[in-house]
């Protein structure tokens, strides 16, 4: 399944609807859906915030192979940004010293079983992978 979405946070409702279609089509268990929504929102909003140039849409592809469910987000990208290499987040400081920045990618790494990244021909793609129980 594949669809393109305008690069705006206002696309999130439509993206969640598309994910729901994918969850139903590929029989994704309820317990995995929250994590996948979380990861997709994080990667998509990063593309909106940090890569506003280039094409104005992001392609989202959903697939399942055996127990491996994947969502791939593809964006035009001049400068590679590998989300797997995002800096460590300070999780231990008291509230007055702590900043929430970077938390989204940290949590995405916690929620997903694997993240793949590829950059070529001015195009970046991030693939979020979740292993399903059945």
């Amino acid at each position: 399944m594949e669809r393109a979405f305008k690069k705006s946070v206002q696309s999130l409702d439509a993206i969640f609807d598309f994910l729901d279609e994918g969850f139903e089509a590929f029989h994704v268990e309820e317990s995995a859906r929250f994590s996948i929504r979380f990861g997709v929102e994080e990667i998509f909003t990063n593309m909106v915030k940090y890569n506003p140039g280039g094409r104005d849409d992001v392609k989202v592809m959903i697939a399942r192979e055996g127990r491996q469910f994947s969502v791939r987000l593809v964006d035009s990208e001049e400068h590679p940004f590998d989300p797997r290499l995002s800096k460590e987040v300070d999780l231990e400081s008291p509230i007055d010293e702590r900043e929430p920045g970077g938390l989204g990618l940290h949590l995405t790494k916690e929620f997903m079983d694997r993240i793949e990244y590829d950059h070529q021909n001015h195009t970046g793609s991030v693939t979020l992978i979740k292993y399903l129980e059945k």
């Binding site: 999780l91 509230i95 007055d96």
Partner: protein
């Protein structure tokens, strides 16, 4: 759809999905909280890191004035988010 309902000035209920498209609306509502309050997550289905950021800023503002939020009725997924973010150290969660 995301909404905030004030039962009174110390009791707030959230419902729906607090994602990045809802942060402006959430910030407007949370800015109305000026003292310690209980925030009920019973009908909140989903929160993203953008939502966490708004909650964090609200808690930071309240704490600096000697107040704070108590969060109740978190579903298991949202509880995981708070645990992975170590937000149990920042909020009172019941």
């Amino acid at each position: 759809m995301f909404s905030v309902t004030f039962k009174d000035k110390n009791a707030v209920a959230l419902s729906g999905r607090l994602d990045a498209s809802q942060t402006d609306a959430a910030r407007l509502e949370f800015d109305k909280i000026t003292e310690s309050a209980v925030m009920d997550f019973k009908n909140l289905e989903y929160i993203s890191s953008a939502g966490l950021g708004i909650l964090f800023a609200t808690q930071k503002r309240l704490k600096s004035a000697g107040h704070g939020l108590k969060l109740i009725n978190l579903n298991s997924h949202i509880r995981d988010v708070f645990r992975y973010a170590r937000f149990e150290m920042i909020f009172e969660i019941e």
